[in-house]
């Protein structure tokens, strides 16, 4: 865990409301694991006051990447940063996805909705290095939500796209696409990230197919360090239901431990 107060942005890319920043932060990059996240200070002033949690989208040598959608003032300010600017980053925070030795030779589904693809790119890359085969599912409302399309297509991985309006890939929900695929193939695991409703439905599907899965959850965060207890959510752990800290006890949790907000 490091606070790099002067991490330098080396590259920026954007697609509509989606942005990708590449940032030089060698200490953080060295420790980063897929599913972990950063706490980024978006303003040097007091508005917004708190850092913003963003998944580590990729690591390349001393550099890390973040991929995010502008959803409010904090992400808007971040989106305005240009290459050469410094940002104050804390990380890597939390516990990431479980990459198990037995994944070797197996297919692993990585299912992301919109900005939810952020942590999955990193996990897919790591899966490859351990000899597993990532299968990407990438859903959005419309083509412009599939901001990472080209980047993903360049990897050579199998990618399944869906859009609600059919403007690209399968017309419908990404969960339907996963469900269909599960009729034909037997992945060893599923990693998911995206809107709550999407993940809840995915969890159901996984349970029906006895497919073990992990999801990366979100919550408003104070510290990102496990110190403030502001980010909690009800989690089933060892039979008990408790408020656990998303930042420290997560953000990645096994599907069976999560209580979905619809529950």
């Amino acid at each position: 865990m490091f606070q790099d107060k002067k991490a330098r942005i080396t590259e920026t890319q954007s697609w509509g409301s989606y942005f990708l920043l590449r940032i030089s932060a060698p200490q953080i990059a060295r420790e980063a694991r897929p599913g972990q996240f950063l706490m980024i200070r978006v303003s040097s002033g007091f508005n917004p006051l708190l850092r913003r949690p963003l998944s580590i989208h990729n690591c390349a040598g001393p550099e890390i990447e973040i991929f995010f959608q502008v959803t409010g003032e904090g992400t808007r300010l971040l989106s305005q940063k240009i290459a050469g600017e410094k940002v104050d980053i804390l990380g890597p925070c939390g516990h990431g996805f479980s990459l198990k030795p037995e994944f070797k030779g197996q297919e692993i589904f990585c299912v992301g909705g919109g900005r939810g693809l952020a942590p999955l790119y990193f996990v897919a890359r790591e899966l490859q290095t351990v000899g597993a085969t990532p299968v990407i599912f990438y859903g959005g409302q419309t083509l412009s939500d599939l901001a990472l399309k080209n980047r993903l297509e360049a990897t050579g991985w199998e990618i399944n796209f869906s859009t609600d309006d059919g403007s690209y890939g399968f017309r419908g929900l990404i969960t339907q696409l996963v469900e269909e695929q599960l009729k034909k193939r037997k992945p060893a695991f599923l990693f998911g990230c995206g809107p709550e409703a999407m993940m809840a439905r995915l969890a159901e599907i996984c349970q029906l197919s006895s497919l073990p899965a992990e999801f990366s959850l979100e919550s408003i965060m104070g510290c990102g360090l496990g110190a403030c207890w502001g980010c909690v959510r009800k989690i089933k752990k060892g039979g008990e239901i408790k408020y656990l800290r998303i930042c420290q006890d997560g953000p990645v949790f096994p599907a069976e431990e999560i209580l979905w907000s619809g529950d």
Binding site: Q3, F46, L50, G222, C223, W229, Y243
Partner: protein
């Protein structure tokens, strides 16, 4: 070399900067980022006797220059604290202070008494001012008499020096401070958070699961500073000031207003290195102003 130490009488801090309760976890969460022995002291998260579930989320909401929280003191309870956390904290070369909570007077006493039986604590901070627990009801720090009773009761059972933490949600904070002093408190710390509400307009629901919460951060600094100034002129015991301290300048302002030491809360979230940076800033400032002892400035406001 400037002498940064802060002598509270019952306790000598190596410097006046203390990490504030509830914003610094059980202390160890910041250990990966810097050596905690740099701190003047640290106050751990509020402790009830038993483990507590805390309030329903969302528990945080941002406001202009501020943060509202309604954690509701989720925590592990004194037993787990003394077994699992305190032994590790005791190894640090800094003053470890426990934040004592209670549903009612007797619980405060039980927590204080339990903690006093263990090694490693430099003082207790009596949290009679948390706005996040009693729905609609008052906390003891909103009433001089309740403050007096609670302090008195805790002093009966615990030999540890006591810092009574005051609530800003009162008409006259000096009356409460005087009550704490009179009951034997060795110091007062102020302020805890201001009771606040944030609303999500589209859903027409409160932003916090608990409806109300406590406001902290830069927004409250001028209010906290006023209260520290008022209290420091009335009591003889040392005053520990807090509320929106984000920089060494903020810390100095509280000291000039009369605080012998300061606590840093919300700033730890925004800048996890806030405490060591403030300590460094105080040192440089004192040096550049030719002070031998930083404590010379305490209460030096020219009015």
């Amino acid at each position: 070399m400037v002498d940064l130490s802060s002598d509270l009488g019952f306790l000598r801090l190596k410097n006046p900067v203390i990490a504030a309760s509830g914003t610094f976890g059980y202390g160890l969460e910041f250990q990966p980022l810097y050596d905690l022995s740099q701190l003047g002291g640290l106050v751990v998260k509020g402790l009830y006797f038993k483990p507590r579930e805390g309030n329903p989320p969302p528990r945080l909401a941002e406001t202009p220059c501020g943060l509202i929280n309604s954690i509701g003191l989720q925590g592990i309870g004194v037993e787990a604290f003394c077994q699992e956390v305190l032994p590790k904290l005791a190894l640090l070369e800094t003053a470890i202070i426990a934040n004592v909570c209670g549903e009612e007077e007797e619980e405060y006493a039980r927590v204080a008494e339990y903690l006093s039986r263990h090694q490693g604590l430099a003082a207790l901070e009596l949290n009679i001012s948390c706005p996040n627990v009693r729905a609609g009801g008052k906390c003891p720090a909103q009433d001089p008499e309740a403050t007096y009773r609670t302090v008195k009761r805790v002093k009966q059972v615990s030999p540890l020096p006591l810092i009574t933490k005051l609530s800003p949600n009162v008409t006259d904070i000096t009356a409460v401070a005087l009550a704490a002093e009179e009951a034997g408190s060795e110091a007062v710390s102020l302020v805890n958070t201001f009771l606040a509400l944030a609303i999500d307009l589209e859903s027409r629901k409160p932003k916090l699961g608990n409806v109300l919460g406590g406001l902290s951060g830069p927004a409250i600094k001028p209010l906290a500073l006023r209260m520290v100034f008022e209290v420091a002129r009335q009591v003889k015991i040392p005053v520990i000031g807090l509320g929106g301290i984000f920089s060494y300048q903020d810390a100095l302002e509280f000291m000039v207003a009369g605080a012998s030491a300061v606590e840093v809360g919300t700033a730890n979230f925004v800048n996890p290195l806030a405490c060591p940076e403030i300590i460094k800033g105080l040192e440089d400032w004192a040096e550049s102003h030719g002070l031998n002892r930083l404590s010379e400035i305490v209460g030096s406001l020219k009015v």
